[in-house]
């Protein structure tokens, strides 16, 4: 960073400009507001505002049965909605003491890692867009589409997926879903390689991102950073490794770690994580294929109290009709208790803190939203840098407003 001209005190009246970067600015998605104090193009101070799309999910959740809270989690980090859904189901299962079959765990891992890839892909390509290279973003969009097609086959929707149920999935993966997964595994690595060739060693991109928005490991930990942003700063903390959930302990993968915590390292960490995710999906897919016969029909745990029965059973079987009625009419109380469950979300540790005092809905539910933490550090990251750096820093932190405001 070049030195700024220091005028002697009182020689010339030196004025700074206040610039509202957002909320109506293309890079702030209409929901972030940064009140920047600028000296020329250099940022003197930044004040960030949260809450533009606060929808009070935690409060809404207090009046809803567990299975109706899943759609709320979709709208947190909508770039990787399935991870949020799975995280929520895992939390419920922890509270209810449900053991999921291995096959369900592996299927969940496939979906979660697909979501991670789509999340990182968006983040990295948006960093590209914010440095001015638009092509990478539009080019990879059609390969994110492959992921969305898999979601579509598994759960019927694409962005806000509401995928899975407490105890497993709403239906088994169809052969077509596996076909699409194979297609993805076949086509995607090449594209990712191509995408990286465009950016990784691009001189302009490197100059724009190296040393921009850096954070030390200590500061990152103090702020409570998690996920790729913390790993880019050099701390190898990954929830999947430190407290494995959904049978992550059965898999071989490495946790990529950066050193400087700047935008370039964050880019590289996300990139490496995508490769790890591809390998995880491949492993999980192999494991899923090993289930033969009736085992390959298992797609949910046997918990009739919480798992909504298939519709055709409701019409034909007495038991199913009873459970369906009880679940839908909210006659099933959840046990009192207090659980904390966190998963490695698309952009950090996504935690769910659930307190139940019995009854049909949680007494209190708190989402630990990683973006909310990152945004607190925004001023420290951009202070003294240029206006353009602030934009890149914001996109490379992978700030998703829906998650930040909750």
């Amino acid at each position: 960073m070049s030195d700024h001209i220091n005028l002697p005190e009182g020689s010339i009246g030196k004025h700074t400009t206040t610039l509202n970067l957002g909320p109506t600015h293309p890079a702030t998605h209409g929901v972030f507001q940064n009140i920047l104090e600028l000296d020329g193009e250099r940022i003197v101070s930044a004040e960030q505002t949260v809450g533009y799309i606060h929808r009070a999910f935690e409060k809404i959740a207090e009046r809803r049965p567990l299975y109706q809270i899943t759609p709320l989690t979709d709208r947190l980090n909508y770039c990787s909605a399935p991870i949020n859904n799975m995280g929520w189901h895992l939390t419920c299962e922890k509270l209810l003491g449900i053991q999921t079959p291995k096959r369900v765990d592996y299927l969940r891992i496939i979906i979660m890692e697909l979501a991670r890839i789509s999340d990182h892909l968006i983040c990295n390509s948006i960093v590209g867009v914010d440095t001015g290279a638009y092509t990478g973003f539009l080019y990879v969009m059609q390969y994110r589409e492959l992921i969305y097609e898999i979601y579509e086959e598994v759960c019927g929707s694409r962005l806000t997926t509401n995928i899975g149920r407490i105890g497993g999935f709403e239906r088994n993966f169809t052969p077509k879903a596996f076909e699409r997964l194979e297609k993805f595994l076949r086509e995607y690595p090449e594209v990712l390689k191509e995408f990286n060739n465009m950016f990784r060693r691009n001189r302009i991109f490197m100059e724009r991102t190296i040393g921009v928005g850096p954070i030390s490991a200590e500061r990152a930990l103090n702020y409570g950073f998690t996920g790729p942003n913390l790993r880019a700063a050099g701390v190898d903390y990954d929830v999947r490794v430190h407290s494995p959930y959904s049978s992550y302990q059965d898999f071989q993968f490495t946790v990529p770690v950066g050193s400087t915590g700047d935008c370039y390292d964050r880019f590289l960490v996300r990139d490496q994580e995508m490769w790890q995710s591809i390998s995880l999906i491949e492993q999980a897919y192999r494991k899923v294929q090993e289930f033969k016969g009736s085992e390959s029909e298992v797609y949910h745990a046997d918990v009739p109290e919480y798992y909504l029965p298939p519709k055709q059973d409701v019409y034909t079987k007495m038991e199913a009709l009873i459970w369906h009625f009880k679940i839908v009419m909210g006659e099933i109380d959840i046990p009192p208790g207090e659980v904390w469950m966190s998963v490695e979300g698309g952009n950090g540790e996504l935690g769910f803190y659930l307190i139940s005092d019995g009854g049909r809905s949680p007494y209190r539910l708190h989402f630990r939203r990683p973006c909310f933490v990152y945004y607190q550090a925004f001023e420290e990251l951009v202070k003294g840098s240029m206006l353009s750096d602030a934009i890149i820093t914001m996109s490379s932190l992978n700030l998703i407003a829906g998650e930040m405001d909750g």
Binding site: S2, P26, G132, E207, M386, I391
Partner: protein
């Protein structure tokens, strides 16, 4: 009466026709550059691009133009109304003026009232052609400055400041790289610079570094990626033309595309032989097919060369990221200016040694 007769009215008529046709050709080319840009971007991004208006979407620019005309025109209350209108006019005017000194082809020959007339396809063959281009191009920044300032918007103002400092910084290496070229050609006249390259080696072979510097500076002067800082859409909301709507916005966009066309034409004229048809002796060809056909072919050759450059502009835009403001200044002042000075000194030495009879 006598004075009126003494004026070569036919000459004025010829020039007027030439002016009108070159301006309209520039406009049409600028229109189709927008189409080409979208198609090129589409190819690079694996998309289809505009394909609804007419076959292959070739009527798209017309539809866009019509849309811009029909849009409501908004002038912000807090803006300076006079300057707000002046900004896009300046941008358009300077973009159009540059084409005056570029030779588009050889001479056309026809007989009128029993007199032979030779018409060169150049509006004004003035002996300070290159200086004229520089003068007008420097004026181009006023469009950005005035427009950005008059909008009374902080983003626009920032973009205007970026634009001004960028254009000024990059004009220096551009001028220095041309001084080296001028030492070789010995003339500022566009027609003689191009004429020296006809049926001969192109200037780019003598001045590869000069050409490279000129190319980089041309990108900067046209505000194209990687130097599109004044209109960085992610940082400054499209910068200086943020507050503009309707045809005023259209003027800014048009001016950018015309600038691209003209700077390609200048590069072709200065370094790539202008309207010379490559690999063929133009003089021999003239004997076979006549001068008028030759001029037409030369014009075509010029346009093909220009099209290649325009494609390069687009190719770069859709491939690489853009610089940051301080990096841009560093590149201009710390890399390009020393390089062009070096190029100038080397060229000067070679020219001097040649005078002393050294052979290279």
């Amino acid at each position: 009466m006598i004075t009126l007769l003494a004026i070569d009215w036919l000459f004025i008529l010829e020039k007027l026709i030439l002016i009108v046709s070159i301006i309209s050709i520039s406009l049409v080319i600028a229109m189709y550059e927008t189409y080409a840009e979208r198609k090129v971007a589409a190819v690079m991004q694996d998309r289809r691009g505009p394909n609804r208006a007419g076959p292959f979407g070739i009527l798209q620019p017309l539809a866009d133009g019509l849309k811009l005309f029909m849009k409501e025109e908004i002038i912000p209350n807090t803006s300076n109304r006079f300057l707000f209108v002046l900004g896009p006019c300046m941008a358009m005017l300077t973009a159009m003026m540059t084409s005056a000194v570029i030779p588009w082809g050889g001479k056309i020959h026809f007989t009128l009232f029993g007199a032979d007339r030779w018409v060169s396809l150049q509006i004004a063959d003035i002996n300070i052609g290159i200086l004229y281009i520089f003068g007008v191009v420097s004026m181009g920044v006023y469009g950005i400055m005035i427009g950005g300032w008059a909008s009374n918007n902080k983003f626009s103002l920032m973009a205007a400041m970026r634009g001004a400092s960028q254009v000024i910084s990059y004009e220096l290496p551009m001028g220095l790289s041309l001084i080296a070229l001028l030492m070789l050609t010995g003339s500022l006249k566009m027609s003689s610079i191009v004429g020296g390259q006809i049926d001969s080696w192109y200037n780019v072979l003598y001045q590869p570094l000069g050409f490279f510097i000129f190319l980089v500076c041309a990108f900067a002067e046209c505000n194209r990626t990687p130097f599109d800082l004044p209109e960085a859409e992610n940082e400054l909301n499209f910068g200086y033309h943020q507050e503009y709507s309707s045809m005023k916005l259209g003027f800014y966009l048009f001016a950018e595309y015309i600038n691209m066309f003209i700077s390609s034409a200048v590069m072709v004229s200065l370094f790539w032989g202008g309207y010379d048809i490559p690999f063929i002796k133009d003089a021999n060809l003239a004997e076979q097919i006549g001068y008028n056909w030759l001029a037409a072919l030369q014009g075509l050759s010029m346009f093909i060369k220009i099209a290649i450059f325009i494609f390069a502009f687009m190719w770069v835009r859709w491939t690489i990221p853009r610089f940051r403001y301080d990096q841009l200044m560093n590149l201009g002042w710390k890399t390009l200016i020393p390089l062009s000075l070096f190029n100038m000194i080397i060229t000067a030495l070679v020219v001097l040694l040649r005078e002393y009879g050294w052979r290279f």
